[in-house]
């Protein structure tokens, strides 16, 4: 199996070094993480412009993207996402972005997700979880941290009991999506969610991807208002 080619974009060199070492140790060894695709860090860049150039030349599968970056038009990770729109990886699949940030501010979360990131995790994430997240994103699935799930529930009014009548409705979550989001917010892994709801992991991933699509496409007013007026803590 070909390894997942990863580009690291973060303006803190210490953080890049740490992540690189951690990924190399986890994915390169023969431990329980050895199964599944290997992860190979092929490039790293400290700011928006360098990131766009690196991504264009390296054509990685996954970009680990910091939300706050210097350069570009001042929008950090969002600028990188816009600058790399339409690029494909060496294998021909679209380049996937996983947002990685210390910031839990809702406006940051919503901005990178709506700009096209496939997931959002905080920098305090453990190495194993990060590896899982990278593999998941590389497969085209979405990665939701408990916090992001809570945000989605809140922003879509699902916590207040609003449920979509049809799954295709963009402004509300379906009952099943809400259940999945609730379990993720409660700290369940995808496989635990699947077991809890008596569905397959693949179905869980489908639901999460569908929520991500709604998050990216929804014009729900509360979504932006919520992100502007509040910050996740």
């Amino acid at each position: 199996m070909t390894p997942i080619r990863v580009v690291l974009v973060d303006d803190h060199r210490m953080f890049r070094t740490g992540v690189k070492a951690e990924l190399a140790e986890l994915a390169g060894g023969s431990g329980p993480n050895a199964e599944g695709r290997q992860v190979l860090v092929v490039g790293e860049s400290p700011d928006v412009d360098a990131a766009i150039a690196t991504i264009a030349t390296e054509k990685p599968d996954v970009v680990l993207l910091d939300v706050h970056l210097p350069g570009g038009r001042g929008n950090g990770g969002v600028d990188v996402l816009h600058g790399c729109a339409g690029l494909v990886s060496e294998s021909g699949a679209p380049i996937r972005f996983l947002a990685l940030s210390v910031s839990d501010a809702a406006e940051d979360v919503i901005a990178v997700i709506r700009a096209g990131a496939r997931g959002y995790v905080t920098k305090t994430i453990g190495g194993t979880d990060l590896l899982t997240a990278i593999r998941r994103v590389a497969d085209g699935d979405a990665v939701f941290s408990p916090r992001l799930a809570g945000f989605v529930l809140d922003a879509f009014g699902a916590a207040a009991g609003e449920i979509a009548e049809v799954d295709e409705e963009l402004d509300r979550l379906s009952a099943r999506e809400r259940e999945v989001m609730r379990l993720i917010a409660r700290g369940y892994q995808y496989k635990e969610v699947a077991k809890e709801l008596f569905i397959s992991i693949k179905t869980v991933e489908t639901h999460v991807s569908s929520v991500l699509r709604k998050l990216q496409l929804s014009s729900r007013h509360e979504l932006t208002a919520w992100a502007m007026g509040r910050r996740l803590l």
């Binding site: 799930a149 916590a159 009991g161 609730r182 917010a185 369940y188 635990e192 509360e222 007026g229 803590l233």
Partner: protein
């Protein structure tokens, strides 16, 4: 608020001594000594001249009082050495000056003397005009008073002293707020102080007018009052015209200083906060570098504190359920030194049921942190259907049935408490870890249960 690197002293400006009333060698207020030093004349001459002028219709007294009010005492500002004259004698730099940025030039002044623009005055060493204008103004006022009085044939000696004192008192009151010490309070800029300043100016003006009227109309009939008022108005107008450019510049300088002070204050606040919090924690972390548990505990607590400071804390006040649950989670984190990933959606006001939930939630968190394995996740959903709180850990789990009866934690503090308050509690054993689920029914008033979620707080 003196930040050294923001203050800029021009050597050229320092060369000019400003009129300062010395602390030593003074008889009354040190005006004569100050003027003598400034003009380079022997003190005695100045004193004799002042006294002589005082007998010439009180002009000396008037000039003396004006100079008293308008010149700072030595060492009254932060800068003890004579600073730039161009700033005007009152502007001993109490607050830091940024670079002499071009400030709004004073509006076209009615005086024949071209008003020195602030930037000009700050850069060129020729900035003596305001000081000269002041002396000139004092002389003109004194002269006007004498002339007016002698023309009307008023007894100059005794009759003039009292009105002049009144005028002087008015002037002192009006000008006293520009004393350096008071100026900082003015810059402090709360509305009360500003109103006070206006009241002072008004009072000073009224006193000055009364004094001038008395001065001019002494022993005259009421018909003379009209003329006297006109004369008074003319004198005041003259004084105002002379003072105008200086006042305008003073005002624009004040605004610039105010802005600089605000910036410096903010900066100092941030610096102080970082010093008290982040730097202290970093120092502690370095000292405890060999104890990973303590380091992560410190880092976590500091992170939370900094987040709360940067983002102004969780939405809502302390009296809401979400805020109370968040506070409890932070308490447990601090106490046990373990990270808790808490997600709260929705909110509602806290009542007795909510308080019970908060206490049970705390027990559940403690239980998870002590007996489970990280990561500990907590999710609370406060919505129309009630409150649901979940605390999950990744430990080996435990069977609630096998918990010994002396362990009050789970049985009494969590299960019993929730049931007594109309809620439920459930302990679930998962494949990996344990989950405690707490629920509360919705609030009796349906309107309040879900409303707070939507409000931008």
């Amino acid at each position: 608020m003196a930040i050294p690197y923001e203050r800029r002293d021009d050597a050229a400006l320092l060369a000019q001594p400003r009129v300062v009333r010395p602390r030593s060698g003074r008889y009354l207020a040190g005006v004569c000594a100050g003027v003598a030093e400034h003009l380079g004349l022997p003190v005695r001459w100045v004193r004799v001249a002042t006294v002589a002028l005082a007998f010439a219709g009180g002009a000396g007294i008037a000039a003396y009082i004006f100079l008293w009010v308008l010149t700072p005492a030595e060492g009254s500002g932060v800068v003890p050495e004579p600073a730039r004259l161009g700033r005007g004698p009152l502007l001993g730099s109490m607050t830091p000056y940024a670079v002499p940025s071009p400030q709004p030039a004073p509006s076209p002044s009615p005086t024949p003397v071209p008003a020195p623009s602030p930037s000009q005055a700050a850069v060129t060493p020729v900035g003596e005009r305001p000081a000269r204008l002041l002396v000139l103004g004092a002389l003109v006022v004194g002269l006007g008073v004498i002339l007016g009085a002698s023309k009307l044939g008023v007894d100059v000696r005794a009759g003039i002293l009292l009105p002049i004192l009144v005028i002087g008192a008015g002037a002192v009151i009006a000008w006293s707020q520009l004393d350096t010490a008071q100026r900082s309070r003015w810059i402090g800029g709360d509305q009360g102080a500003r109103g006070m300043a206006l009241a002072r100016i008004g009072l000073g003006l009224v006193l000055a007018v009364i004094g001038l009227v008395i001065l001019v109309t002494r022993g005259r009939s009421l018909t003379a009052v009209w003329d006297a008022l006109l004369a008074t108005a003319a004198v005041l107008l003259g004084a105002a015209l002379i003072a105008a450019p200086w006042v305008i510049r003073l005002w624009s300088d004040l605004r610039a200083e105010q802005a600089a002070t605000v910036r410096a204050t903010e900066r100092a606040d941030i610096a102080a906060h970082l010093h008290d919090s982040v730097l202290q924690t970093l120092a502690l972390i370095q000292r405890k570098a060999e104890d990973p548990h303590a380091v992560s505990q410190l880092a976590r607590a500091q992170e939370r504190e900094l987040r709360a400071w940067l983002y102004a804390g969780p939405a809502g006040s302390d009296s809401t359920l979400a805020a109370a649950l968040t506070a409890v989670a932070h308490d447990v984190e601090d106490e046990q030194g373990a990270a808790i990933d808490l997600v709260v959606t929705g909110d509602r006001p806290i009542e007795s049921q909510g308080e019970a939930l908060v206490r049970a939630f705390r027990e559940a968190l403690l239980n998870a942190v002590r007996h489970g394995r990280p990561p500990v996740t907590a999710y609370v959903e406060i919505g129309a259907a009630g409150v649901e709180a979940f605390v999950k850990d990744r430990g080996d789990g435990f069977d609630p049935e096998t918990v010994p009866t002396d362990r009050l934690g789970v049985r009494e503090s969590i299960l019993g408490r929730m049931e007594r308050h109309g809620g439920t509690a459930r302990v679930r054993r998962l494949d990996e870890g344990t989950e405690i689920e707490l629920t509360l029914p919705p609030l009796p008033v349906p309107a309040t249960a879900s409303s707070s979620d939507k409000e931008p707080s």
